[in-house]
Symmetry: C2
Subunit: 418 residues, 2 copies
Amino acid sequence: MPDLPSGNAAIGQSGGPTAVINQSLAGVVEGLKAGLAASGKVKRILGMRHGVRGLVKSGSDGLVDLTGINAAKLEAIARTPSAALGSTRDKPDEAYCERILAGARANDIRYFFYIGGNDSADTCRIVSEMAAAAGYELRCFHVPKTIDNDLLENDHTPGFPSAARFVSLALMGDALDNASLGGIKINVIMGRNAGFLTAAASLARGQASTGAAPADRPAPHLIYLPEVPFSTDAFLADVEAVYAKLGRCQIAVSEGIRDETGAEIGPKLMRVAGEVDAHGNVQLSGTGTLGDGLADLVKSGLTPKGGKAPRVRADTFGYIQRCWPHPSPVDSEEARAVGRYAAELAAGGEAHASVIIVRTSNALDAYRSECARADLSAVAHRTRHVPAEFILGSNDVSAVFHAYCRPLVGELPKLQKL
Amino acid sequence: MPDLPSGNAAIGQSGGPTAVINQSLAGVVEGLKAGLAASGKVKRILGMRHGVRGLVKSGSDGLVDLTGINAAKLEAIARTPSAALGSTRDKPDEAYCERILAGARANDIRYFFYIGGNDSADTCRIVSEMAAAAGYELRCFHVPKTIDNDLLENDHTPGFPSAARFVSLALMGDALDNASLGGIKINVIMGRNAGFLTAAASLARGQASTGAAPADRPAPHLIYLPEVPFSTDAFLADVEAVYAKLGRCQIAVSEGIRDETGAEIGPKLMRVAGEVDAHGNVQLSGTGTLGDGLADLVKSGLTPKGGKAPRVRADTFGYIQRCWPHPSPVDSEEARAVGRYAAELAAGGEAHASVIIVRTSNALDAYRSECARADLSAVAHRTRHVPAEFILGSNDVSAVFHAYCRPLVGELPKLQKL
């Protein structure tokens, strides 16, 4: 039996919410109840309202006591999308982390669980190191979450399969809509730095890529990831070739596409200057500007002299893709498991860790995964990109990606054409 | 037994597709097979590719023979969203209708079924009158379809319940997303002339309106329909009141909102001139301009002098709301029924009709509807608007609307807050 500190546990949720982030919350709570709370090492299980914001608040306004929550209510919360505790966009620096440590001390917190992306892993890392330096025993655990699927060490991240399911379903319906009326349809998908979610648009095809030319592929005909340099000339030529042959073209494009110098395309196409956030990023989601800019580009580029402009429409999927209330079953299960595993690592005596997902069987009908441990520094503040083996040419994803992604999203409707 | 003409039947689909428009196609086909085809009056069942376009084409390129289609394939097509035959945006005038009549004669068509909105009913009416004047026996039937729910005589229209289900689910997830991170979230919903679909956003609340002030309502806090004159000053005051109290605000707004003179708000807020279609309408869907314009308005209107702008995001739901592959079960059933009923009217000797839906029981757990017949002229070329009894003040819908809409969308997830 390892030598474990006695005190309270705190759990928080950070960053953009997902459809299954509350499964992870429930997983940590039930893992603690079965382990450290049952053995008396954890007295109270506290939820941080709006992530670490809840802990740095003076008094107990920012904390909610989950110790006595009953199983039925916890289960109902687990099935509810978005962060039940509230989330935050704060990315703590050293000074902020000092305040987190002070909040932990003030509330006798000895176990700290943070559900989020690579910034949350970094917060865990900094706080863990500060606590060690100060001689305050604090165990810090990062629980993975991001629809962007951009955490290192993980086969994939909780939240991604459900968002990928939404994108697959959306593209399936939209492909048939586009086929029925013709024209050019652009769909802008989330993921500023990693194109995994945009790549999931390919699942709408119902088959792996065969390497066919764009006009000979099932829709979506063209897929543009941020990992592949985007050229507006090549884009127009791609669209023109499909449209000329089929009278229609369905496109999936990441909000984060960049040119060969790494500069984002979105801001360059904006009709007016976009909003810049606290981190210096131009706002890409929650606005239709990239889609509208690309639509303008296609209209002006593909209208024959004196001729009629093609029908071009752009939809930007926006926030509904990340909290759609019908998640992927695999995702719900795994999000629960990573939370529970974090509590088990704590009970096993780990001082700090990031929980990761490892795939153990890749077959569609026999998909399996396990949780494992990684160092916080291996995950913190770093971004995973779509690997080369998932990419096919300049405007498609590979059969390897299909084999990777298909088992994650659950059952897809079987569609029938005439 | 009525005196019925012998010949072929033609079926077409028109306008924006829906998630269940193929149920109606399947309904007409199976209704004909069980009736007029079984009795030998209908020789061939022909599908028109891209609506009446398929009939005015010379030769048989525009027609597909459905006479021998097997039940399993028909069922699979029925479950597939969007128009399997292809659709069209053509709105035939008299000259075009002459060509339709010529196409009907050339293909020995005696029964004409058109699945669509009020323009399709009008096409049926004109063609029917022309045929009668020319002494060519042609039976014309309009089968209702539109996510806008804007057909007169109908309790509601096939396609609307599924789109309303999508909007309800989207607002449910988005409300929790907005609650977790705060800020102001604008959702732009389809329906240029009728606000039924925007009104369906209210179902995300899980309860009927109690008449509470916006900040005391479950989200969405504010709902703006095209039927209620939109004032930007009142809008800003509404948003400010909710945001001041809650630190967040979720808004549902129709793409077709208008000021007190009837002028559309969208074009007035556009950052650049929008596209104008063949009917003189400015493009509202497939672009983020209205949402972005409203977001700009809120940002500039609600930023305190020298202070920080609130976080404002806008999503425009676009085309995915009308062909989402998981329709409302009630909608699937009713869309099938209206198609079958049209074939039954034909077998019963009707010369022309529009099929309508009549609600016979309004209880949530005992909802029932029936098909009935209306004159084409009662439905053709006219628009139904959200009635006054469905509207509550300037920014909400009533409990009467909730009772009307809730039974249509099917089961909604039960969400749980902490």
